[in-house]
């Protein structure tokens, strides 16, 4: 039987410019951390994709494609919790106002848009959005089993 012990949290930081060509950097950064944390390949892929979706939404909605802004990604690791915070200083965006689509109905009307948020919820164990006065924070959590 193992006790909780005095496990410290390991934190890793990455700042990327708000450019879609930098999305691969964000993906690789979190994927590497997730592998070291002990996730299997499927979960590593899902985490990388969720972060891609979050950063893409920031570029599109918070920054309206302005290429000179920053996105901060902070990975905090303390087993079993793998937490990713993604911060921007752009327009406030309240995703709670966007309903989670019923995919069958969505598909039958050939809709697009809103898929990123839907995917994030499917890929991660928790997705939380917080609006602060000067920044927006997306919090993604995946638990290691």
């Amino acid at each position: 039987m193992t006790s909780g012990g005095n496990q410290k949290t390991t934190r890793l930081n990455l700042r990327i410019p708000s450019q879609t060509e930098k999305l691969n950097m964000a993906r690789e950064f979190v994927a590497d951390a997730a592998k070291v944390f002990g996730f299997k390949e499927d979960d590593v892929n899902n985490i990388a994709l969720a972060v891609d979706e979050a950063c893409t939404n920031i570029i599109k909605h918070a920054y309206s494609y302005a290429a000179d802004k920053q996105i901060d990604i902070v990975v905090s690791m303390k087993k079993p919790e793998f937490e990713i915070l993604i911060e921007d200083h752009g327009k406030h965006f309240n995703p709670n106002q966007i309903p989670v689509p019923n995919m069958k109905e969505y598909m039958s009307h050939y809709k697009r848009g809103g898929l990123g948020m839907y995917l994030m919820k499917k890929l991660m164990d928790k997705v939380e959005y917080t609006i602060h006065p000067k920044k927006n924070v997306v919090r993604l959590i995946k638990y290691l089993h």
């Binding site: 691969n24 990123g116 995917l119």
Partner: protein, 121 residues
């Protein structure tokens, strides 16, 4: 790793797009252009071969959604084939198999296009 390439070829009456690499918000416009080109040339029997597609995000999936209605209204279709389990998983999470035919093998997809042509004669 953010390289993405599309190559075009023909298999009978079907226009095949071979996708290679990473399809995300940065590279999705390339796929949009590719579909626009085929549609402009009235090449509406489109098979997307995903054998070398390493990654897809919702930006890429959104491109398929943008064109499927026009292609089907024009009497054609967009079918897909040869997906890796990783890529298929994302299509499946978003319910794409409800709307698109996804084949394990290109030849099955081409046969399906041919079968449709035969039945409409």
């Amino acid at each position: 790793m953010n390289e993405f390439k599309i190559s075009f070829r023909v298999s009978g009456k079907v226009h095949v797009m071979d996708l290679k690499g990473y399809l995300d918000a940065h590279t999705a416009p390339n796929l949009e252009e590719a579909f626009q080109k085929l549609i402009k040339e009235e090449k509406l029997n489109i098979l997307v071969n995903c054998k070398d597609l390493a990654y897809i995000s919702s930006a890429g999936l959104g491109v398929f959604m943008a064109f499927i209605e026009d292609v089907r209204t024009g009497g054609g279709d967009i079918k897909m084939s040869n997906m890796s389990p990783k890529v298929y998983n994302i299509f499946d999470l978003l319910g794409f198999p409800m709307l698109y035919e996804i084949f394990t093998d290109e030849h099955e997809a081409v046969k399906k296009f041919d079968a449709k042509k035969q039945s409409s004669k």
